[in-house]
């Protein structure tokens, strides 16, 4: 009787296993083409209600460009988005157009989920040069197109500086030591529970900037781009921030990791300086009551040109490799990134447009906070370092690894040497798949 049960179970299991093995047909296909020549696209993105509204506006506007096409809007929140996308890809059910993040670009790209947009004829001639390269996966081509430019920034809350009676620093000449002592001064000059600087040792962007200034980078073409000693130097700097009280103690610092913008010490006026990405300027500025100044990260030498900043893509648009409506999908993405009409609807909400024509066209429609970000992006244009290598498969874990090793260090569970080694070891094992 057992065998009969097992046999039954097996016959049932086989079709599923087969589907998994074949990775399924692209199911959107069955729905994409109606009999009357009209077709449909599915477009999935992550973001808040503001982005949803802007994006839906753009979709509606595209309806006038391409009246036969219907686009189904499928928004999700950041963390749910990735669970959903992975599941849909597994089911052979990937939406035709998706929003993509640098962290996961090679995960999807190297496994053949994304279409080469350059081959598909996407127009990129108006783009800032390095911004197109940011979507190129080695050996695979242009798998995603920049939907907005980002750069690491140091935000200053002018209100806290005022309280401390301290002037804003000159960000074209300052060094990491200047930053540390300035932050320590602010902590001293303000009330208990107000700090000069967030614990930037737990922040990925700081780590990458620091490595680049050491002549290294987070990744090289064949793995981790730094040595254990480099990580150790960075972590020692972080630890010193804690010891000089430039940054909060371990407990408060750890509470800050993974905190949303609105909940952060910086946004609630309890911290003067915070590392962020330029597309978050608007969010922090709103939360902190419009008193935010955008500063360059410090350098080792005191020269802004040595700060080794770079343009990152805040996010991308990508097209499913298995879409059955390839031309329509690529045409839609083309319109999203190249059309001034689309630009005027989407503005700088996804980051400063990488398309220079679009950027110019929307200049008058931007808000004050948007302009802060655009100005910053343009002001560092001549100081940029080389474009970094794209995050390899498994690199999406880096933030978690940095947080874990940093937490151990800040709580005094390890020393900087061990923490630096752990950081490198864990990253190496994460990206060697």
């Amino acid at each position: 009787m057992h065998t009969r049960r097992e046999a039954l179970a097996l016959t049932l299991a086989v079709p599923t296993a087969l589907t998994l093995a074949a990775c399924g047909p692209n199911r959107s296909s069955s729905e994409t083409s109606g009999g009357d020549g009209s077709s449909a696209l599915r477009f999935m993105w992550w973001g808040n209600a503001v982005r949803d509204k802007a994006t839906r506006g753009a979709i509606d506007a595209y309806g006038e460009v391409e009246s036969d096409l219907s686009i189904s809007a499928e928004p999700a929140d950041w963390s749910g988005y990735w669970d959903k996308l992975a599941t849909q890809v597994a089911g052979g059910d990937m939406p035709d157009v998706v929003q993509m993040d640098e962290k996961y670009l090679s995960e999807y790209g190297n496994r053949g989920a994304l279409l080469d947009l350059e081959k598909a004829g996407l127009e990129t001639s108006d783009f800032e040069d390095s911004s197109v390269a940011a979507g190129e996966v080695p050996d695979k081509g242009l798998l995603a197109i920049n939907a907005g430019i980002n750069a690491p920034v140091l935000l200053a809350n002018a209100a806290v500086f005022e309280d401390a009676g301290i002037d804003l620093p000159d960000d074209t000449t300052w060094t990491w030591d200047d930053l540390a002592s300035l932050a320590a001064d602010i902590t001293k000059a303000t009330d208990d529970g107000v700090y000069g600087l967030q614990q930037i040792g737990l922040v990925q962007a700081t780590f990458q900037v620091y490595m680049r200034q050491l002549g290294k980078d987070q990744y090289s073409a064949d793995g981790a781009g730094f040595a254990a000693e480099d990580a150790e130097k960075f972590l020692a700097y972080a630890k010193s921030l804690q010891e000089t009280k430039a940054a909060p103690d371990a407990s408060v610092s750890v509470e800050e990791t993974g905190q949303s913008v609105d909940q952060s010490l910086f946004a609630t006026g309890k911290c003067a300086l915070q590392v962020a990405w330029s597309n978050q300027v608007v969010a922090y500025d709103t939360a902190a009551g419009g008193k935010v100044h955008v500063l360059r990260m410090p350098s080792m030498t005191g020269k802004a040109a040595d700060a080794q900043l770079w343009y990152k893509a805040s996010m991308y648009f990508a097209v499913s490799a298995k879409t059955t409506a390839k031309e329509q999908a690529v045409a839609f993405v083309d319109w999203l990134v190249n059309s001034e009409d689309a630009g005027r609807l989407l503005l700088a909400e996804r980051g400063v447009p990488a398309n220079l024509t679009v950027r110019e066209a929307i200049a008058d429609d931007l808000t004050d906070a948007d302009i802060k970000a655009v100005d910053f992006i343009e002001s560092i244009a001549d100081e940029l370092g080389d474009a970094p290598v794209i995050t390899p498969q498994g690199g999406g874990q880096f933030e978690d690894i940095l947080t874990r090793c940093g937490e151990d260090l800040l709580f005094g569970r390890t020393d900087t040497k061990t923490a630096g080694k752990d950081l490198l070891d864990q990253l190496t094992s994460a990206i060697t798949v």
């Binding site: 998994l20 808040n48 909940q263 969010a283």
Partner: protein, 318 residues
């Protein structure tokens, strides 16, 4: 009646927490049997309820704090929510409710209706399918019962995260993705083993003499089920209704995976749409709509708990 003095006496004035609770228990039977006069010594009668109420009130404060905090936060302007962690000062800024209601692609009522439809389907499915299955497990002798029971328990032991992908692939073959069918249909097929097991335990608590009496009167299993067992398991069914309602009302992961377009979104998905871990979130609207979405839950709970207490004790069978 003397033993009660020695047993419940000592722990009662001591008062704190669980000890007092357990010891105080039997007194509760009093209100239903109504035979209390003079049964207890004066001292305990007066002090007991006061201590009990004191404990309950303190405990209530701990329990109700999050709700109060949510309501207070929902009435604050966005920039104030994280600047004042406590309950004070209270502001009465109702714009979060207006904004939250209208901020998404559909008015919030749309998501409330979606959630209601989903939950109603699941409740009906669970009540019917699980009670039928539970009756078989608890009362019928059939081939393979114990193995079936073990298999059923096993289905509870795998985390959803590994079964959801194969399940999604399965349902995407049927074209049911972006409908509520993948969420509701399984409930009609008694896949919620939790409730089957719950009902099995309740049916086993019903004295068998009742079935046997019915059988002697010539009732078949269906009549026994509908006439004898079902009325007697009202508390278990009320529990099933309340839990299914609550769990599906709050269900995030399943809805996230299966419902793709906003017009099919349920409340938990809609609430996430206010948030962006990378950028600006509308916390005020999120809190306001969270508070609103608790109202149906609370109403169902209040209605449900009336049936919860309509057990054996009050159905008049003696």
């Amino acid at each position: 009646m003397t033993d009660q003095l020695t047993s419940s006496g000592p722990s009662r004035p001591a008062g704190a927490g669980a000890g007092a609770g357990t010891a105080a228990a039997p007194a509760g039977r009093g209100h239903r049997t109504g035979d209390q006069p003079g049964a207890r010594p004066r001292r305990t009668r007066r002090v007991g309820p006061i201590v009990r109420h004191a404990i309950l009130i303190i405990a209530s404060l701990v329990m109700i704090y999050p709700l109060l905090w949510m309501i207070v936060s929902s009435l604050r302007p966005n920039t104030e929510i994280f600047r004042n962690p406590g309950l004070l000062p209270i502001s009465f800024n109702t714009e979060n409710y207006v904004n939250g209601w209208n901020a998404l692609s559909q008015p919030f009522s749309h998501y409330l209706i979606n959630s209601t439809l989903l939950v109603l389907g699941c409740v009906i499915g669970n009540v019917i399918a699980c009670s039928l299955t539970a009756y078989a497990f608890a009362r019928l002798k059939f081939w393979g019962r114990n193995i079936a029971f073990a298999v059923m328990l096993m289905t509870l032991m795998l985390p959803i995260h590994v079964v959801i992908v194969p399940q999604y692939i399965m349902f995407s073959q049927t074209g049911w993705v972006n409908t509520m069918l993948p969420l509701i249909l399984p409930k009609f097929l008694a896949t919620d083993a939790f409730f089957v097991f719950l009902m099995v335990q309740f049916i086993r608590g019903i004295p068998r003499e009742l079935d046997e009496a019915a059988r002697i009167d010539g009732c078949g299993h269906f009549r026994i089920f509908f006439r004898v067992i079902l009325p007697l398991m009202t508390p278990a069914i009320a529990t099933t209704v309340i839990f299914t309602f609550m769990w599906m009302w709050n269900d995030f992961f399943g809805s996230l995976i299966y419902l793709t377009t906003p017009d099919n979104f349920t409340v938990p998905l809609a609430l996430r749409a206010f948030l962006d871990s990378q950028g600006t979130s509308d916390w005020g609207a999120m809190f306001a709509m969270s508070v609103l979405s608790l109202v149906p839950l609370f109403i169902v709970f209040l209605l449900g708990q009336r049936f919860l207490i309509r057990g054996f004790a009050t159905t008049g069978i003696k």
